[in-house]
Amino acid sequence: MSNQKRASLSRREFMKAGIAASAALGLGGAARFTPKVYGRARAAKKMIILGMDGMDHGLMTGWLAEGRFPTFRKLLREGGDFRPLRTSLPPQSPVAWSNFITGMDPGGHAIFDFIHRNPKATDPVSFFTFSAAESLGAKKTIRIGKTIIPLSGGEVRNLRKGKAFWQVLEEAGVPATVFKIPSNYPPVPSRQRTLSGMNTPDLKGSYGIFNYYTNETMAVIQEAGGGGRVHDIFVVGNRVEAVLPGPTNSFRTDAPETMVPFQVFLDPANAAAKIVLQGQEFILKEKEWSGWKRVHFNLIPTQSVSGICLFYLKEVRPKFKLYISPVHIDPARPALPISTPESYAKELERHFGPFFTKGLPADTSALVNGVLDEEEFLELDDMVLEESMAMLEYELARFDEGLLFYYFSSTDQRQHMFWRLTDPTHPAYDAKLAARYGGVIAGIYGEMDKALDMALRKADKDTVVIVMSDHGFNAFRRGFNLNTWLLQAGYHRLSKPWKQAESAFFDNTDWSKTRAYGAGLNGLYINERGRERDGLVAAGADKDNLVREIAQKLEALTDPKTGERAILKAFVAKDVYRGPNLEMAPDIVLGFNRGYRISWQSPLGGFPKEVLEDNTQKWSGDHMSSPEVLPGIVIANRKIAAEAPALYDLTVTALNIFGVEKPKEMIGENVLE
């Protein structure tokens, strides 16, 4: 396995492990919110916010100048306004959307990265934690043989601090519907309608594990990769017997993985097959997607969990290839909390049937690993988009007061995966694919134009409409191995230097001689005495001097291949964040130059040989740059007074529309005239 491959897998493995714990514990009985209908107070003003993840200010400006996107241009012609939107530091979606949700920066809401580290961890695996949620198991259990009976409910906790804007609106009697906003899993307690978005796990509790059944030898290590598992199957007499893995059975002492068997019957000549799964029978032609299929995983005789998944028959012969999407939480019987009130998800399911509930439903892992090709990935993401549009239409149709926030993920996901085909200098550029898919990103921006059109049709003169993104986008051509750099610069020490390339999760680190380490996607931490378990550097002047020294060196680092600086700015956290919740903050936050990003291996304590390396993966666009070079967008049907508003300004602006005073911890200002 190449280092590159191994690294990319590790990151996802982390995600998987993090959320897996959440779900496994939550299945034991997560807290539920009271399904009450919120008593509504009618407000004169209304507000629709369309959140389009990752829409880039530079791209948008260029395309608008070319005369694309008729609705956006019409809105601007008719008195609307368009500004760059200052993103978060770092510009990662959980951080950025938390800025918007709370009206604070990470110093207030305490989400600094996708990944946090546990400085007191005693083993490499528990060193890294998922920043957004944690799970607490049942406090009391009894054991009967090999069965564990929980006597109390478990709990999944949202780790974001501060009040969400819809909670503030609720206190003021303003109704709100908040649809799939990221960083809201589990949804914070509220009587408003909210549906969780990014960070919502699949039924296995992972970031999204697809299953791939084939009799072809697969070179990719899927299982370790988080994102996919390959099942070697045999076609015997035109018949395939296989199992679909489900969540871990936390009712058993040995915590086995649940399994549901299924059969595939291939026609001897036609490129079609019949699939039989728990009494459901359906036929798929080659290169055809099934609709949602419901699957029940039995835990103990009285307990089971229900999930939903999609099947895709990629090939019947000469090789058999069947893809099954990650098993999503069934919105009709949610095993984990995904909405407030709990009935909201069920209501949507009754209206639309099963729907995508996993945080980011586009299966980027399947594309990265070659299980789905570009066309197949887009077919899947088109289903996501189609569903999003239908649900937006549904919510708009009944929207008559208060605030509606509606989120789109496809903008972000398609830019991550297709940037390489818009940039001939990208290491993963492919001219043939570019000819076919080079317009995908512009295409999804065009779809957002249609979403805006739907919202504007609903808006009357009292309705403020805002389109916003959380950050911009740029190429990810070169990866920076922060930990390798720290090692070479003498700030980090390995116990067995000859095993550098195999190191992961800091399992080879000599903490007694290490002064700094990189963890997460933008974070650098000092191994501080008293804070870290084996801290070395004294807090105060010693640490401050070290922080300044490392920051200066990082900002001076140039890439020998391009001659460009890899890091535009190394931000000293205590100087840039406001708020009382800095205990999990990195000491330095890296602000990368355009085209650069943290490498695949470094975030989880890996040490590849090279400090800088080409990114040859299909995951080719990203957003970890210095915030000033990566603004998002804000477009409104009102004039925007501020030249460059920030995400947290929009929070205060939303409250201001309804005459709600901003809570004192919010740091933003109203930006509309």
Partner: protein
């Protein structure tokens, strides 16, 4: 069997037709009420009412004995034996009416399943049609063709499964209304009805089969397939239907049994029936 099915089908249809446009609960309540009244009458006529009353009285008397003489092991044991004996007498007295009622009841349940077990396809909905073949027939070499009436469309090639003696197709309902699938096997033509759309309570026949009397009784929705052909059955996988109570789904059979029992007990006094 065809005539019996026709008669029972006609009776159930007459009962349910007025309720087609309403919630299925109304039809279910009506048919439960009428069948419970019918069964009460049948029970009254075919059971030994005196023996049943006697058995129940004995059970009550010995239960009283148990309570009064609970300190006497001997009396307690004797009372328990007597209760057991009285119970057996009660069951024996019920045997004849049960045997008499079971036949019409099965036929009624088979008819009700046509109305309550499966929902018709919605326009735009896809499902499978499965053709079951004789064990000797080879689905790969057997020439078979499926044709649809307007409003239906075949959306997949045939999937032939020799191990299961089955050929399946996927088809799509494109418009509401009754449809037909025509299966050509060699020179033989077989027709299967398809229900698409319709009122909340619509009769749906999922299986056309040939074979035993028992199968014909259980699947009375269509005429039996002709004998002497390689086709054993033609089945359409309609979506399952259930009754809804405050958002919870209840199987129609459970609803029918509960309602019938409730009506039976409610009216046993009126009909002066000892159950």
């Amino acid at each position: 069997m065809g005539i019996v099915n026709l008669v029972f089908g006609w009776v159930v249809d007459i009962i349910l037709l007025p309720f087609q446009g309403a919630s299925p609960w109304f039809g279910m309540a009506a048919v439960s009420l009428l069948t419970s009244l019918l069964m009460l009458e049948v029970y009254k006529l075919t059971s030994n009412q005196a023996a049943i009353r006697r058995a129940k009285d004995r059970i009550k008397a010995h239960l009283l004995e148990l309570r009064l003489f609970k300190d006497s092991m001997r009396v307690t044991l004797r009372a328990q034996a007597a209760i057991l004996k009285a119970n057996l007498s009660y069951l024996a007295a019920n045997l004849k009416p049960l045997l008499v009622m079971i036949v019409p009841l099965v036929l009624i349940l088979a008819q009700l399943s046509l109305w309550f077990d499966r929902a018709p396809l919605g326009p735009g909905e896809e499902t499978l049609v499965k053709v079951g073949l004789e064990e000797k027939a080879d689905p790969v070499s057997l020439p078979m063709e499926l044709e649809t009436s307007p409003g239906l469309e075949i959306t997949s090639p045939a999937v032939r499964i020799p191990d299961e003696h089955e050929v399946a197709w996927r088809f799509k309902a494109t418009a509401a209304g009754p449809g037909r699938l025509t299966l050509r096997v060699g020179g033989l033509i077989l027709v299967k009805s398809v229900a698409v759309g319709g009122k909340p309570l619509t009769k749906v026949s999922s299986l056309a089969s040939r074979g035993s009397l028992w199968k014909q009784a259980l699947y009375p929705g269509e005429r039996a397939l002709p004998a002497g052909t390689p086709v054993r059955s033609i089945e359409i996988l309609y979506p399952a239907k259930s009754l809804s109570v405050f958002g919870h789904r209840v199987h129609w059979l459970v609803a029918y049994l509960i309602l019938s029992i409730a009506f039976g007990f409610a009216f046993k006094g009126v009909f002066k029936v000892e159950i």
